[in-house]
């Protein structure tokens, strides 16, 4: 049945995701019953996905400014100055709900959407990253989701020719019915050639370019703002289909047009498609916009105004041109075989007016549409973090060597090569450090000595136990991973993945995580410049682990100085940072002792900054061969990863007195790094002078990891354990 035959009333509004109070507000703004198209526009613009109605009051607490921030949140992506007259433009965005319903297309269109957010600002995309969370491997559904998501990310990124250089993957039962697919794109633009979305110039032509509009993805933003139930698969028609080939043409055509002076404003048609791009562009410019939908390139016949305004067909952009630039612009899009159509113009009415087949389909004042959008300060139940475990009292069920093998083979710590080997990480010819080679990916800027350091980070089990400390740790770890390469951390993008915000405990997780993140951002001069919020990540009423995924960006002036994690023979291994033996919420506790409890390791932001600044200084001074932060799995896992990466063994010293072997080797105390240095004594002396805790760990060489007590593991045995999981699981 066609929806156009339905009367518009509160019942229909509810089906569109608006509650009674919100619908009453629509009636007040319009002064009449809205048309179906108008109701559709209100419902998507006021959806959680587009309006951030539950999260906005909290997002304001995040620091967003620094001397190097050119554009913070509010534009399509964040922009930071990286020197040499260049900027890095980046953002991370979720495609969780579509990826559960249709993993391949959900993940692929997630990559496509975030690419458009970046190149719409004038940047050539130079790197993609991702942050993925899947259910338990034992869950029969997980394998299909992992396979589809990985194929989808690769299928899109490989084809558009943007290297996928980094990411992270976790498995946990809490994601069984609700995987997370967060995609990040980083681009480079000249500082004086950045394009924004605010429309201007009364009478200026509004141009549609890219793919034709079909019925795919109608009401996708509304879907992304609701919980799942057993019938979620019925939502498959709302998942969009990606076309990376058209995206590649669109990137090249838009960048070519951006080399001229034809563009006044430009924005991609992302969630809520033509509606959100037209409303946001006109709204930001304080102008009006009038569109004639008969001119919209259409893939299907008989589409209604409602369908065209709500379609989320992919690979489309909306552009306001300088008057008279139509022919120049059309020639470029013709060259790239892309649709180009003038579909409207900018007005001085402050209204969005939609016409179709001679009829007026919508006429909405823009200011109330955005200013009177719902804003909720939802009830909060603040989380009560568990107390710290008595770490001394935790019994170790197995010797250190066996525990190491078991940890290295566990799904959360094992080699991700099966995934990376499906992503083209080097196309573009600028990838200095690929996945697994360093704590952050290093991508050089073509024609410059500079490189970007890029990472994605979050430890959801910490966030579940203590959302505030977990939020703080996620930011600190991103900062640490960039620091470990020698790069200077500049800014982050955040992707806040949480459950149903109407539940006070979920809102409490969200607010506490923001507070922890804000503390770390402030202490580390690491502001948030873009982000995305994904709520209602629940299936059958069960929420995910709170997952504030952080995408971090740093810069290093000379790409040749960037350090990886691979060790070589004849080096000293030195531990930087304090080790107390913190086992609460550690992977050792979960995988070896079978417990998920206690408080997560605290982050001391003063020590974090001090230790990190020390490490970065040492790398710049040239004495560091390799550097790796200590994170999931603790110290011995970090050392084992360095040994495998460098195909070089090492002999380790006895742990200090007053700490259990499990606590020393597998504790997840924060703010720590392992450095492989040519001269430990000099490094230790420098650390003493700087007031940074440091300790000699051992010496590299051979092809065994020799643990104290004389027991050795061959690198072959370690590698076999590390690579076993994906090979045997996925085949």
């Amino acid at each position: 049945m066609s929806r156009s035959s339905r009367p518009v009333n509160e019942q229909l509004a509810r089906e569109f995701g608006l509650n009674a109070e919100e619908y009453a507000r629509v009636l007040a703004i319009m002064g009449r019953t809205p048309s179906l198209t108008e109701l559709g526009i209100f419902s998507v613009m006021w959806s959680e996905h587009c309006s951030y109605k539950s999260s906005r009051v909290w997002l304001k607490e995040l620091p967003t400014k620094a001397d190097w921030v050119v554009h913070g949140p509010g534009e399509n992506a964040g922009v930071v100055d990286i020197g040499d007259g260049l900027t890095a433009i980046f953002k991370m965005e979720s495609h969780n709900h579509p990826s559960f319903i249709e993993p391949y297309q959900g993940a692929a269109t997630g990559v496509g959407g975030i690419l458009r957010d970046v190149f719409t600002m004038g940047a050539r995309p130079i790197a993609n990253l991702n942050a993925l969370r899947f259910g338990r491997p034992e869950n029969p559904r997980t394998k299909r989701v992992v396979d589809g998501v990985v194929r989808g990310i690769g299928g899109y990124g490989n084809c558009v020719g943007v290297p996928t250089v980094g990411g992270e993957v976790n498995f946990h039962a809490a994601y069984d019915g609700n995987p997370l697919v967060n995609a990040m794109t980083v681009g480079i633009a000249q500082k004086d050639r950045i394009f924004l979305s605010a429309a201007a110039g009364i009478g200026n032509p509004v141009v549609y370019v890219g793919s034709k509009t079909g019925r795919d993805g109608i009401h996708g933003a509304t879907m992304a703002s609701a919980e799942f139930d057993a019938n979620s698969e019925e939502k498959r028609p709302t998942v969009q289909v990606g076309d990376p080939f058209t995206e590649k043409l669109l990137i090249e055509a838009c960048l070519e047009l951006m080399g001229t002076d034809a563009i006044v404003a430009i924005q991609d048609m992302g969630a809520a498609g033509l509606t959100s791009s037209a409303v946001e562009m006109a709204g930001k410019g304080n102008v009006g916009i009038e569109l004639d939908l008969d001119a919209v390139p259409q893939r299907e016949t008989g589409m209604t105004a409602y369908e065209m305004m709500l379609s989320e067909s992919q690979e489309r952009m909306l552009i306001v041109l300088r008057p008279g630039a139509e022919d120049l612009a059309r020639a470029i899009f013709d060259k790239w075989d892309l649709d180009f159509a003038v579909i409207g113009h900018i007005t001085d009415t402050g209204r969005i007016v939609i016409r179709h087949r001679g009829a007026l389909e919508a006429d909405i004042p823009l200011q109330p549409l955005s200013d009177e959008a719902p804003l909720y300060r939802r009830p909060i139940r603040w989380p009560v973090p568990p107390g710290a475990l008595d770490h001394e009292a935790i019994q170790s069920p197995m010797p250190v060597q066996r525990a190491l093998l078991q940890l290295m083979a566990s799904p959360d710590l094992c080699s991700r090569a099966w995934i990376w080997n499906q992503y083209d990480a080097v196309v573009g010819g600028q990838t200095v450090k690929r996945p697994g080679a360093a704590d952050a990916a290093i991508v050089k800027i073509e024609g410059s000595t500079r490189a970007l350091a890029l990472t994605t980070d979050c430890t959801p089990r910490y966030c579940q136990a203590d959302p505030k400390m977990g939020g703080c740790q996620a930011v600190a770890e991103a900062w640490r991973n960039i620091t470990a390469t020698g790069a200077r951390p500049l800014a982050i993008t955040d992707n806040m993945n949480f459950g149903n915000p109407e539940k006070p405990e979920i809102m409490g997780q969200f607010a506490a995580a923001i507070q922890g993140m804000a503390a770390a951002c402030n202490a580390l001069d690491f502001p948030v410049v873009s982000g995305n919020v994904s709520l209602y990540n629940e299936t059958e009423g069960r929420g995910i682990l709170p997952t504030p995924a952080i995408g971090g960006l740093g810069v290093i002036e000379d790409a040749r100085l960037a350090r990886g994690i691979a060790i070589a023979p004849h080096l000293d291994l030195v531990l930087i940072g304090e080790t107390a033996g913190w086992l609460g919420q550690s992977l050792w506790l979960r995988e070896i002792a079978g417990r998920e409890d206690g408080a997560p390791p605290p982050v001391n932001l003063v020590a974090e900054r001090r230790n990190g600044d020390f490490v970065r200084h040492q790398i710049a001074a040239g004495g560091v061969h390799a550097c790796h932060d200590v994170s999931d799995g603790g110290l011995l896992v970090a050392i084992a990863e360095m040994a495998l990466a460098g195909d070089t063994g090492c002999a380790l010293e006895e742990p200090p007195d007053g700490i259990t072997p499990a606590g020393f080797w597998f504790g997840e105390d924060q703010s720590r790094y392992v450095i492989a240095a040519h001269d430990a004594s000099g490094l230790l002396a420098e650390a003493r002078r700087a007031g940074v805790p440091a300790r000699l760990l051992g010496r590299t060489g051979g092809n065994e990891l020799t643990c104290p007590g004389g027991v050795s593991l061959s690198l072959g045995e370690l590698r076999e354990a590390h690579e076993r999981f994906f090979a045997s699981w996925m085949g």
């Binding site: 490989n158 084809c159 558009v160 020719g161 080939f245 590649k248 043409l249 600028q430 990838t431 200095v432």
Partner: protein, 233 residues
């Protein structure tokens, strides 16, 4: 010495920048010409390169649409007149679809996209492409393809081997060739082949991505240096 190289851009080509970097680096700063797929004629060139990517999205058989481009008539004429042509990855696929090289490239035997380092054993070295390698040399290159499984009928394979037209084979780090060193199921481990006159080379791996040690390797550099030395006027 300057090499007049031209890189053909098809819609969906995405490794033209990598190729341009490699050629520019080898020829002392001389940038190659970029040639549009709708061009029916070529400027005066010493070398035409068909780079990697997903021409026309690979939505039909890989390279099938690109092989019908106006520029490919000009490339055929160029080759017929004795011009040198290099096709890498999607470029190799286009050369087979255009009939300039025998055989075809099917979906990888493992049915997954392969993006990893792999070793190749160099065949003969009396060509403009391999003059700076030694015969039997093992080089490390980048693979990035979903459809690199080389097939041809037995007669053609026998002829390629008999006439010394197998340019590169997949091998392990020690140069050993066998089923376990074959990443994509290619017949007889073939990674690249020459035309009968050895003026056209098609190969699946990407030598252009390993011309700078900073990017992880430079085993591809001798190919581009060799081309400059052999062809530059």
């Amino acid at each position: 010495m300057s090499l007049r190289a031209g890189i053909v851009i098809f819609p969906g080509t995405n490794r033209e920048r990598d190729m341009a970097i490699a050629l520019t680096r080898a020829s002392g700063g001389q940038a190659p010409a970029m040639i549009w797929h709708k061009d029916a004629t070529l400027p005066p060139l010493d070398l035409v390169v068909l780079p990697g990517g997903f021409s026309h999205g690979d939505y039909l058989r890989c390279g099938a649409m690109a092989a019908q481009s106006p520029v490919m008539r000009a490339v055929r004429d160029f080759a017929a007149a004795g011009g040198y042509v290099l096709g890498v990855c999607n470029g190799f696929q286009i050369l087979t679809e255009a009939g300039l090289l025998p055989g075809a490239l099917l979906r990888n035997a493992g049915l997954r996209f392969l993006a990893q380092d792999h070793h190749l054993r160099v065949g003969r070295t009396d060509t403009v492409f391999t003059g700076n390698y030694t015969e039997g040399q093992v080089i490390r290159v980048v693979l990035a393809h979903g459809d690199g499984n080389y097939v041809a009928d037995e007669q053609t394979l026998d002829r390629l081997e008999g006439d010394g037209l197998v340019a590169f084979r997949y091998c392990d780090a020690d140069g050993a060739i066998g089923a376990e060193t074959n990443p994509n199921g290619s017949a007889r481990g073939i990674a690249g082949i020459y035309s009968a006159d050895r003026r056209i080379l098609g190969l699946m791996p990407h030598p252009e991505d390993y011309v700078d040690p900073l990017m992880g390797g430079e085993d591809g550099a001798p190919m581009f240096q060799g081309l400059v030395e052999a062809l530059a006027a």
